[in-house]
């Protein structure tokens, strides 16, 4: 304490001395200036004199302001110099802690920006080398078109993550515009180039797959070539026209291209954190090891899921790197073109008085058969199932119903699915009506679901994530 009060006294004396010297200098300058101004020998005109007076006034004001500044600067300097060492250490560790917690929040925000609601035919993962990173992926499925992208910002850590955030926001916006794939990249490039003050760049692979026809449009802006695993034959790197990375040069003309995928073809996109993963000996994972891995995957391509594919590659890379810490961000995405069992779905909200609209939507699905007899049975089952939700699932009829169809082209099985968040209710647990009783004994309820059971080949109910899910199947 004594030490601190001594330091205090000392600091105030220093401030005093500095202030006095400064004030003295100011007074001397003012006096000289005044003498010069009023000296007859200088012969100032009226105008010049007025000007000089203003200058004089300004000098005094600025001078006094300077005094205030000196006061605060001195105080600050003295305070910092005399702070005890422990306090300084404490401050540093508090600063570190704060930095760390801020990075953790930043990581949560960055991870939160990633889409994790994977459609059936795609899976992806991101694993930054530091808390935050510059790799990213994105996808969306709309109107039978699966758009997907994977990218890598030059550098790592916070600067890369900021650039990643910028790029992915722009990309998501542009993706929604339904532009040709090369125009899409041009828009992204122009926007990113404009906002890019530090000469960073982003390698990006963007594609759009028609999930029914297998038509793939893609454009590669300096990114690693994606791996194609066809249903038969060897995996290969997808050749792409060279386009420069995003952010380097505005108004660059990007070239897109297209490919027809065979059913069962899998695509694996990744960032250079995969191929450049290093062992302690500094040898890298490389393209050859990636291809060997793809060969192995090709053996079980028909049965393996995208999530397993992604995890398999990640584990293979990690195993290769051994104890060597991950030195770059890693992003991996896998998707498969499988025209079978694609769910065409839509969520209706609200559903009150919407039964007929919902039924018509399902009946208009491309999965529906043309045969009139089948359509009659399907329509009746659908109507009964939809009515059941519309009338009873929600109190007052306010709520949503998501309906969809899918078709297994090989087995020729049509699936109709209904999902709602209403009161948990298993319609299959209701007793069947007694079809042998007389008119007087017959009850009017329970007929709808009974018809579904009889007209469809199978009907299943499950309660999942707070939703009632009813699945009906019919051989067509």
């Amino acid at each position: 304490m004594g030490k601190n009060s001594f330091a205090n006294k000392l600091s105030w004396s220093i401030i005093g001395i500095v202030s006095v010297i400064y004030l003295a200098a100011l007074v001397i300058i003012a006096v000289i200036f005044y003498q010069l101004m009023t000296d007859e020998a200088t012969h100032l005109s009226q105008e010049s004199l007025a000007h000089a007076s203003r200058m004089y006034f300004n000098l005094i004001v600025v001078g006094l302001l300077g005094l205030v500044v000196i006061f605060f600067v001195c105080r600050h300097v003295i305070k910092t110099k005399t702070r005890p060492v422990t306090e300084e250490l404490e401050t540093t560790s508090i600063a570190n802690e704060r930095m760390e917690s801020e990075l953790n929040v930043a990581r949560a925000i960055q991870m939160g920006m990633l889409n994790t609601k994977f459609p059936e035919q795609l899976y992806a993962m991101l694993c930054p080398a530091k808390e935050v990173g510059g790799d990213f992926y994105d996808f969306s499925l709309k109107d039978g078109k699966l758009y997907f992208a994977i990218g890598d910002v030059s550098g790592k850590g916070v600067p890369a993550s900021l650039m990643m955030a910028l790029t992915s926001v722009i990309m998501r916006f542009v993706a929604g515009l339904g532009l040709p794939i090369n125009t899409m990249l041009e828009r992204i490039n122009n926007s990113v180039s404009e906002a890019n003050s530090h000469g960073m760049f982003v390698t990006l692979f963007v594609a759009r797959l028609d999930i029914r026809s297998g038509h793939l449009e893609y454009c590669n802006a300096g990114h690693n070539p994606i791996v194609v695993i066809p249903p038969e034959g060897d995996p290969y790197f997808l050749k792409a026209k060279p386009n420069i990375a995003i952010g380097l040069l505005g108004d660059f003309h990007y070239e897109g291209e297209s490919l027809e995928l065979k059913p069962g073809t899998r695509l694996v996109a990744y960032t250079d954190g995969v191929t450049e993963a290093e062992q302690a000996s500094l040898s890298q994972f490389g393209d050859d090891r990636l291809m060997s891995w793809a060969q192995a995957i090709a053996q079980e391509n028909a049965t393996i899921h995208d999530k397993e594919v992604v995890e398999s590659l990640y584990q293979t890379v990690k195993h290769f790197a051994g104890d060597n810490p991950q030195n770059d961000d890693i992003a991996i995405m896998s998707l498969k073109f499988d025209p079978n069992n694609i769910m065409t779905k839509r969520r209706f909200n609200p559903i009150k008085d919407k039964s007929i609209e919902i039924i018509e939507f399902l009946m208009a699905s491309p999965d529906m058969p043309a045969d009139e007899e089948l359509r009659f049975k399907l329509r009746l089952s659908i109507e009964e199932a939809v009515e059941n939700v519309v009338r009873y699932a929600y109190d007052g009829g306010i709520g949503w119903l998501e309906v969809g169809t899918s078709l297994d082209h090989d087995a020729l099985v049509l699936t109709v699915e209904l999902r709602d968040a209403g009161v948990p209710f298993n319609p299959l647990e209701q007793p069947d009506p007694d079809t042998t009783s007389s008119a007087e004994e017959r009850q009017v309820g329970g007929l709808g679901i009974y018809l579904c059971k009889k007209l469809m080949d199978s009907i299943d109910y499950r309660y999942e994530d707070g939703n009632n899910v009813l699945t009906m199947k019919k051989l067509i």
């Binding site: 039964s355 007929i356 039924i359 007899e373 009659f376 049975k377 329509r379 009746l380 109507e383 009964e384 009515e387 009506p433 007694d434 079809t435 042998t436 009783s437 007389s438 008119a439 007087e440 017959r442 009017v444 007929l447 709808g448 009974y450 018809l451 009889k454 007209l455």
Partner: protein, 100 residues
Amino acid sequence: METIINNESGKTLVVLKGRIDTTNADQFQQDIAPLMEGEHPDIEIDCSEMTYTSSQGLRIFLLLQKSVNARGGIMVLRNMNPQVKEVFDITGFSNIITIL
């Protein structure tokens, strides 16, 4: 959905046209309200142009049949298309409603 009702020498002739589904079941029930009145009704319904019925339509047929039975009358449904007939069969309605 169209419901045409004619009375001919004590017999009620009904022609049903179109679909009975969730959109018009209530209307169908109102349309056939006259059939729910009178003693010893004798009702004949031509179903040749009725193309579809959901369980809500069935429910109304059941109410009508119960009402006819209670009043000591008779009701027949004629010329039903096979698909609609199947719905009546599956639900056991063919056992309680006379379909010719």
